[in-house]
Assembly symmetry: C2
Homo-oligomer: 148 residues x 2
Amino acid sequence: MSDDDVSTAFAVLNEIGIIAQLGRATFEARLPPGVILPQWSVLNHLVRVGDGRTPLDMARAFQVPKTTMSHTVAALERRGWVEFRPNPDDGRSKRVWLTAAGRAFRDDGIASVAPDLARILGDLPSGTMEALLPHLRHLRETMDAARD
Amino acid sequence: MSDDDVSTAFAVLNEIGIIAQLGRATFEARLPPGVILPQWSVLNHLVRVGDGRTPLDMARAFQVPKTTMSHTVAALERRGWVEFRPNPDDGRSKRVWLTAAGRAFRDDGIASVAPDLARILGDLPSGTMEALLPHLRHLRETMDAARD
DNA sequence: ACTGTATGGTGCAATGTTGGACTATATGCA
DNA sequence: TGCATATAGTCCAACATTGCACCATACAGT
């Protein structure tokens, strides 16, 4: 493992940190005031992987502490975008279900940000995102596995 | 701009958000308790681009509000890792300079995390990071330019 | 020079994040 | 069964982030 490899890795993580910041700002500019990216992301996650997950499942998926996820889903529930039902398999846990309003809000979010993303995509060499995606997935999976 | 392109972009930003989180956790696990990633990142930035920057310069580079950067550099100054000097060109602003202790602390950070990064790199197909870096730079620059 | 506006920086308050302690339920093992 | 340990979730307090109001300095147009 050469020093060069390590400094490339540093540079990659550095760029990723800044892009995450920019992406968050882009998103939040389009969400209604008071709604925050992690809230929308949880709705999106539930749509993509299916609802009925437990809060702890999602905390692991997002790599945040369980208290943070607890706070986030509580906010979503207050707004009527998700509802809790007991987990029949485990009396300690809840399952989180999307409401119709929650699905609609998630869809609105995509529709609102799509033009911003389209503008960014238009300024990038075509194929940039497709080139990034598989490598990013691989990196994420590897880092996830390394966190033992 | 097809729907597929937009959903690829969503997926890329999603992965980037999670990797940023994982990277942050990896780093903070190696920093002394109470030291936080943004603090170390600012020291790293000053080493890489040269010290003598103003806080506002750095706020822009990191895409954070100026109050956040003000808070961060104040913490670094309390720990003796940077010092402020007046800006001879502009009486409103400060310039931020690294101290010897600041440089040493930044170097220690690299040395502490390098083994973790090396482990991750060892589990990735070689060339993954090199493949990512130019695309990420491009994406970051484009998003930066789009934020007008 | 004078005045209006723009910019660098900070203090404060509201909010988000997170570690630690705690409760309740589940599971493994004698 | 009974007990020790592990796990899901929440409450609370400490701390980080950030929008807003404010001050000081700079600069542009007259």
